[in-house]
Amino acid sequence: MHEQGRNSLWRDFTAGTTAVVPVLLGVVPYALIAGVIAIQVGLTPVQASGMSLLLFAGASQFAAMQLINNGAPALVILVTVLFVNLRMAMYSASIAPHFATTRQTTRALISYLLTDQAYMFSLYGFEQLAPARSRVAYYLGLALPIWLVWQLGTMTGAVLGTELPAGWALDFTLPLIFLALLVPSIRDRATLAAAIVGGCVAVAAQPLPWNLGLIAGALAGIGAGMLCSAPAQHATDS
């Protein structure tokens, strides 16, 4: 590899890391709480860390711990994890074209590191990155710090067992960051419809188990976007 190429890949990597810093602020309290709850449901610190290393998927870890606490059978836990993480398949399909020429071993690493935050942020950053290797470097630059903070955070929470002061409302940082990403993703009437319908359906469907409210909202939003961008609709304009 040329020195020039290596330098520019490192620049892409650090650009990803710089972009993801505000996200880490929101990941820290979630990771600590995940560690604390793991101890509360009777896991050992090693099991708590093992879960974070193996799954690396916050929402499904919380769901699994709730079920372990309830004494649910393994099959119920597995089905729940499947449903809670279904959106990952959507992210996978959406981000896949960016890695069409990437080596399969690297793709496996990219997949293991795929989270809500890594997906949203990399799509946002990819718009300025042309070569596939630059995108991989940028992606790893932002996904690896998220992974590290999640692992260290759950470990710390499990060992210390402390609670964060609720008054800080740090859990509000993640919706705010997602909001900052949502605004530029709305480019036209169709994406606006996808967001409005997706959000409203998710609120209405929130009582559904297994995080299905999110899936229902996402599918309804996608449907609304497609309806609004259908060629026939454009023909009737003006």
Binding site: L82, A169, L179, A180, A194, P207, G213
Partner: protein, 110 residues
């Protein structure tokens, strides 16, 4: 659940999660997705982001929180305005958190 059963369950859950993440990334360049599906995927970010944000802002303790008591909604609206005008993630975060803390502090006086 025994320790062995717990670890087996965690490994199974990890496999499921990894396969969901790896599915389409592994097939990229090998399998061409049909055009309607590719069109649908364009709407994933907007639809999913809104589906994460709106419940987080409107629902707490399984109950719908409506304005004017819902400080999170007011703070999010202000942050949304900043995001729209500046496209700056850090500034959006600062304004949103400051608004929430400020409104919560003011609440004491009413």
């Amino acid at each position: 659940m025994s320790t062995t059963a717990l670890w087996l369950t965690l490994v199974g859950a990890a496999l499921i999660t990894f396969l969901l993440r790896w599915s389409f990334i592994a097939l990229s360049g090998v399998l061409e997705l049909p055009a309607p599906l590719r069109r649908a995927l364009q709407f994933v970010p907007a639809a999913v982001l809104a589906a994460i944000i709106l419940p987080a802002v409107l629902i707490s303790d399984n109950e719908l929180q409506l304005p004017p008591e819902n400080w999170r909604l007011l703070a999010a609206a202000l942050a949304g305005l900043v995001a729209w005008r500046t496209h700056n993630i850090v500034l959006t975060l600062i304004v949103g958190m400051a608004a929430l803390w400020g409104l919560t502090a003011l609440q004491v006086y009413f």
